[in-house]
């Protein structure tokens, strides 16, 4: 077998890329197995230490926050619910609104599409005060609904679904109609199965998006019961010594490693469809 120079170069670039991604994670993991004093004294560690069980046990079970009542485990659950809610609703709503835009040629379909598209330019951070006002007027602060709802509209996903639906030949719809399918059945029996790879891809994107939200949950929640993982990263594991807050670095590294697990799991489970969804449209 002859290996070309260009192939070797490509592999070198890829390996470098992988290292670039993996080394910080490894550093975090290795550091999370030492105790805080070692890290503060010697910096981040490359080799493994002996504090793994202690640190992780502490992270999962210690009660933190002002009220000393919230645990990291609770925050993981909150984040998971928030991300799951956002991803699920975003996918459902985008798929359905794209369906309406493509298949129901109502009068203002095109302007409405562009209106949806323009919201890409207005992310939540820009409209955070009006959004907060609305949610608090509705009495939804400190609730999962309040965490999820303002984030479920998605121009990006609507756009991708729209582009995909447009590639589906008209005859398929016509044929289905003659076979007695109404609009609802066409959506469920045709568009959903045909776009399942797309749905998986969107779900992953949106899950990670929801999981990594910081500003919105920070503003939205006053009760620690609704804290999320990303918020916790800043707040939790700070030790007070006579009014001075000191970070507990080792536990924080353990916390960071744990916080990566849910999105990684989602990617691992859905990756088969996810990759298909990105590289091909099944027809």
């Amino acid at each position: 077998m002859k290996i070309k120079l260009s192939q070797i170069l490509a592999h070198i670039v890829l390996i470098l890329g992988v290292l670039l991604m993996v080394i910080p994670i490894w550093l975090s993991f290795a550091s999370s197995t030492h105790d805080t004093v070692t890290i503060l004294k010697e910096g981040m560690k490359f080799g493994l230490g002996d504090q793994l069980t202690r640190n992780y046990n502490e992270v999962l079970n210690e009660k933190g926050g002002w009220s000393e009542e919230v645990t990291a485990a609770k925050m993981f659950i909150n984040s998971f619910i928030m991300a799951l809610g956002i991803a699920t609703l975003k996918v459902i709503i985008s798929a359905m609104s794209a369906y309406a835009l493509v298949y129901f040629r109502f009068k203002f379909a095109v302007p409405i599409f562009w209106l949806i598209f323009i919201t890409l330019l207005v992310p939540l951070e820009v409209r955070i005060f009006p959004s907060y006002k609305i949610v608090s007027d509705l009495g939804l602060t400190n609730s999962y609904t309040g965490l999820v709802l303002p984030l479920v509209a998605s121009a990006t996903a609507t756009f991708f679904f729209r582009q995909f639906y447009k590639t589906i030949p008209d005859e398929l719809l016509e044929s289905a109609k003659l076979d007695g399918a109404n609009s609802w059945r066409f959506f469920i029996d045709f568009l959903v199965p045909l776009s399942k790879t797309m749905i998986a891809a969107m779900f992953i994107f949106m899950f990670v998006y929801g999981y990594s939200q910081y500003l919105w949950p920070l503003i939205m929640t006053t009760s620690e019961e609704y804290w999320t993982v990303v918020m916790g990263m800043k707040i939790i594991f700070t030790e007070s010594y006579e009014g001075v807050a000191l970070p507990r670095t080792a536990e924080r590294f353990a916390y960071i490693i744990l916080s990566m697990i849910p999105p990684v799991l989602v990617v691992v489970f859905l990756q088969k469809w996810f990759i298909k969804g990105l590289i091909q449209t099944e027809k």
Partner: protein, 350 residues
């Protein structure tokens, strides 16, 4: 009252294209009707209005005694076979056939029975578990037919279903469709731009031009008695020869010869039409052809040549006759089998 009645049906697309003009026709129960015409003449539009896939701008369509203008396509009990088959790509063949039945709330056992029957009829039983992407063109064609048959609809519509197949398969499927329709006996409308398909399949055919039915009749009626130059030129292969001429007091003068006692009172410029197969060689014939080209088909020879000012004049003779390029032939028209058309509007005048 006929099974399917079109009454002054007109279609104007939103962009202003007038695709079908005030078309009226009847299709009887069990009949195989073919719409034939050049591409863009409005055949598909007419068919799609019957299916309910296009709105009817004006006029009425009645199916089985019911006005269906406003009936949703899913309620019309019509099955259609599309040019690209439009099989459901994510369902296997079984589910492709079963889908329409499921939507009608038929029980599982009945569905299975019907699907298996249709599959047997179409010889696709072996492929029931395959996805359409794993089938050849001909097999897809059969699945598309099966999907139509399995529902035993009131009427089958076919929109150029054979045009994606290669020539050999096309002829084979043509035959099978005809046989199948005779066996199942369902009223069918078949759209094609291929006049051979039209002639071979139709009980009756409608020749359509520019959104108008030019002529409606059995294939033989239309072949023997075309009402216009368009129909005469469209039906028949090789195409009818058209010669310019002048008709005066029942005498027709054209490209160096005369025909007397034409059965027409028309006077003025005309077009004379002669089918290649309606001539034979004689000693002192009417038409003198100098041969440019000979196409030997085996059973027949097609001779192309020049008569006076007309090039590419075609004459058909049995394949046993040996005719050389460059030779001169003398031809007569058999049994007064010629057609005279008014040059100004193409209408038949004899």
């Amino acid at each position: 009252m006929s099974f399917l009645e079109l009454n002054k049906v007109t279609k104007i697309y939103p962009n202003g294209t007038k695709a079908v003009h005030e078309t009226s026709m009847n299709v009887e129960n069990g009949e195989f009707m073919v719409f034939v015409g050049p591409s863009g003449c409005g055949k598909s539009t007419l068919l799609r209005m019957i299916a309910g896939l296009e709105d009817i701008t004006e006029g009425n369509i009645n199916l089985d005694g019911i006005l269906i203008n406003k009936v949703d396509p899913s309620e019309r009990d019509i099955a259609m076979v599309f040019q690209n088959y439009a099989l459901y790509p994510h369902m296997n063949v079984y589910n492709n056939l079963a889908y329409g039945l499921k939507n009608r709330g038929i029980s599982k056992e009945d569905i299975e029975k019907k699907v298996n029957e249709a599959a047997k009829l179409l010889q696709i039983s072996e492929y029931l578990q395959r996805k359409p992407s794993m089938l050849s063109g001909g097999q897809r064609q059969r699945v598309a037919m099966g999907r139509a048959i399995v529902r035993s609809p009131k009427i089958f519509l076919f929109d150029e279903p054979l045009s994606n197949l290669d020539a050999k398969l096309r002829i084979q499927m043509r035959l099978e469709i005809k046989k199948l329709q005779q066996k199942v006996g369902v009223t069918s409308i078949f759209v094609t731009h291929d006049q051979v398909e039209a002639m071979t399949l139709a009980d009756r055919l409608a020749v359509i031009n520019n959104g108008l039915i030019e002529q409606l009749g059995t294939p033989i009626e239309i072949y023997n008695n075309p009402k216009s130059m368009f129909v005469a030129g469209f039906i028949g292969s090789p195409q009818m020869n058209f010669l310019e001429g002048e008709l005066k007091n029942k005498t027709l003068t054209s490209e160096g010869f005369e025909i007397n006692n034409v059965t027409s009172d028309f006077n003025g410029p005309v077009i004379l039409g002669i089918r290649p197969e309606h001539m034979s060689q004689t000693d002192k014939g009417l038409i003198n052809l100098s041969v440019d080209l000979v196409e030997q088909l085996g059973s027949d020879n097609l001779i192309y040549g020049e008569i006076k000012n007309k090039k590419d004049f075609c004459f058909r003779c049995p394949g046993s006759q040996i005719i050389k390029k460059g030779s001169k032939l003398s031809l007569n028209i058999n049994d007064n089998n010629y057609y005279v058309f008014d040059k100004s509007n193409g209408n038949r005048v004899n």
